[in-house]
Amino acid sequence: MDTATESIRLGNIDLTSRLILGTGGAPSNQIIKEIIEASKAQLVTVALRRYEPRASNSLYDLLRSLRVEILPNTAGCFTAKEAVLTAKMGREALETNNVKLEVLSNDKDLLPDPFELLDATELLAMDGFNVFAYTSDDPVVARTLEQAGAQVVMPLGAPIGTGLGIRNPHNIAMIVSQASVPIVLDAGIGTASDAAIAMELGCDAVLVASAITRARDPERMARSISLATEAGFLSRHGGRIAKREWALASSPIEGVADFS
């Protein structure tokens, strides 16, 4: 959608930070606390898993104490049916209608299954959910998800956890240019420049998990990617110069000394 304003609304959440933090892959809750603070993220994603009596240090309590918005995902679902049930569990657990909808095709590439994803998007949108649809970088699929009721479309830059950056920038630009809902680049970001490129392409926000949580120094990387996200956003709306074939001097031609 490419909005130029400082704040952005995703689902029913107003944000000033355009970096959404995925908590997956963090070595500890302490690291999650540090990267939330360092990144200034206001929205974080979580998964839903079986309650484990021996697990201590409740992630839920930590996130509540940090006053961030929590976006439940449907990670681990491979069919629309599973994803719809998981979304409903997320709604009950967190009392939110927002859901990051993931319906994956297989374990190896973790790529979204567009057919199951579309079915789940339709069902959940009809049930009052604000669907954040995690999808491939296919502009046709992105458009179809929006028509099916997705409130946020989240194309991948590269497969989850690969850190390969944005493999098809032109597709992301096409998705942005045709969308009337916010576009969030999700998956594939490996380092700060990838986040800046996503924002320069016109994405409204980026979602980053592994690039921060699995970095050698997660806190430093959180700050780096946060700054890059903001830099990319400012750059997008600062109005870049047109590319030229040949040089154009920035110093004036007039008044050059004559030493002959």
């Binding site: 995925g22 898993r49 079986r50 009950e92």
Partner: protein, 67 residues
Amino acid sequence: MVEIILNGSQHQLKQPSTVAELIDSLRLPGSGIAVAINGEVIPRSKWVEMTLSAQDRVELLTIAQGG
């Protein structure tokens, strides 16, 4: 004694219990968790009235790290 299947394992209830009583007995907070019974999500508002039956398959989920 009522035996249910809680998150894939056998679980004994000393007496017939509601979902709310099960959650109390596990000393869980009421927030941040969700319950499904036999593949159906049980809304929070039904926890006090929904009684568990023998061999009910109960999924009790909480939030975990996720991207």
